[in-house]
Amino acid sequence: MKLGFSPEDELFRQECADWLGGQMAGEFRDIRGVTKLTGSPERRKEWEQQLAAHGWSCIGWPSQWGGRDATLAQQVIFAEEYARAGVPGRVNHIGIELAGPTILTFGTREQKQRFLPGIAAGKTIFCQGFSEPNAGSDLASVRTKARLEGDQWIVNGQKIWTSLAHISDWIFVVTRTEEGSQGPRGLTFLMMPIDQPGIDIRGIRQINGDAEFNETFFTDARCPADSLIGAVGDGWRIAMGLLAFERGVSTLGQQMGFRNELDEIIAAARSNGAARDPLIRQRLAKAEIGLRLMRYGALRMLSQTDHARIDGAALTYKIQWASWRRNLGELAMDVLGQEGEISDHRDYEWDTLPNLFLFSRSDTIYGGTNQIQRNLIAERGLGMPREPRGSV
């Protein structure tokens, strides 16, 4: 058990910091500090390509496919330095962290050759089509249908919460390909080009006034048969495999974003005197502890990837960060007081902390609600009986 990094790792850290810092001070200084998912989309696509051009796009991938075969420690370091430099989140997060690894694991040789170079180069932006209006937390209730006509799948239905669909090139969707099938059976995993007449994307305005999420409508949309991953009817297995990738190194980058939010709250508390309130002090200390424990939980999780088993740290991670961040939003507002309830922006647009307060209400819902997470923990982690499905 070892927390420290080797001297080589520290050199690598310096290299990351230098390059990222240079970019954020130079050519890409205009996007430094952008935190909104929807901010500056075109420049951030260019940033994806800049990363790729300098070999930083997907360092954990095999070098054969544009990666660097980076060690775990290196990936951790890169994620930390990326966030520390104030670089905005990756618009191709889904491509690099989910679609790519899924294709690497389940795709054919031909699919790897077709998709991976574009993703690695920052030219193929992916988004994710899992949730549906009536299958919010319940992938097995998917109703979007696909049927094969010649060498094309014809897709009809609707997905929801498809973040960044409006700037993406491809979407992967879980579809029901077996007529009349129910639950996890009869599902198929398709990769579909977005720019086609059968796909219509509409933004969903959230309670913070912004629209990070979309609804995506499929009306006789087309998917080439060779963009099916795995086999027909294999969609559940692929989707479950993909969800496991969500617990990768990118969690550490996410945490650095949390760090910035907490630091901003600490600064506000020091400046407005809330830092003298013993109740606020306790809550800030708890937030600090919670964030540290997320980091060490993530490192435990990552240190065990070899072992193939999903252990406690991994199972509990989603609900941990989601609840932590929702509490952080409330703490931010309690530190700000009524100041947090007014905005200098005209159009119901909010500074970082009030926006955190509003947006974080979604953290405990999307990607599996806290309730679903607790079911999973009890059932998979503790061997409790599964919730029965109803027949309504």
């Binding site: 919010g136 969903i204 309670i207 947090g340 307060f357 029965p388 109803g390």
Partner: protein, 352 residues
Amino acid sequence: MEFAFTDEQQMIAETARAFFAEHATSERTRRAMAGEGIDLALWRAFCRELALSGIGIPESAEGAGLGLVELAIVAEAAGAQVAALPMLGSLALAGQAIAAGGSEAQRTQWVPPLIAGDRIAGYFHDDRMLASGGRLTGGSRFVAHGAIADLFVVTDMRQMWMVRADAPGVTVTAQTSMDQTRPFAHVMLENAPGEILPDPGAALGAAQRAAFIVVAAEALGGAQACLDRTVAYAKERIQFGRPIGSFQAYKHRLADMMIEIEQARSAVYWAACAVDEGAGEADMAVHAAKSFAADTFFRCAGDMIQLHGGIGFTWEHDAHLFFKRARSLQTMLGSGNWHREKIAAMILGEAA
């Protein structure tokens, strides 16, 4: 000792509930949110047709009589619909202050038009207000519905004045506010003329007590609405092949909401009754009601979002109206911690 509504109170409750449920619709409230945060037609209808706007102000002070229990009943009904109305600032704060602490002339001049909805008043305090020769310099950035007020009742917590919105030296700027159904304005007084109220102690006491109770009652109504709407959703929404309300974790969360709401209900009507009866524990009761009910509302509104899943955090769904109102009620007129510290001081003495 009969801690239940009288028949008359029951009738007021039913009238008010029916009125707000019919008129304070989501559509109208959203129109108000896009504008100045007031549904002026609704406010006028409330004041003139429903004739409940003078409740809680004695008839001797140009009000409609009855007490804070009845005022709480009305505020609860308005809160249940997150109605975009200046009830808090214009009636519970300014109206009560003028009625309790104003001269007869001041009462006669201002109370009737406030109750009639012909005039709207805002209220704020500024501890560091400068007052000299009837001229006031100070202000606040958190004046609820201040942008549409004709009159401000202002206090430095010692004295109290009336300041006309169109007087020289008064600048009013609307603020983008999280709760768009009760937006704040920034009101600045720069050597502005103020008309002093002769009995500031009575004015301050009446305004605070009424406002704590109205905030608490609105919160109670809002919390109950969050529960009712979530219960309805729980019956109709199917997930995993079952109504989501059949999941025990979901049920227990609804039960927890109900447990808190029932306590909040006891708190609100205890406080209103205690003030009306001049009971010794009235001070403790109003602090308890304000803090408990507002915290309950916030919790229930957050739960409403959570229990609605994805749809709950969209702009389109009304959950966020409740959530933002709840947040606003929590912070205005003293946080929960502040009110609880007041109670701690009553039972323990002042902190060291």
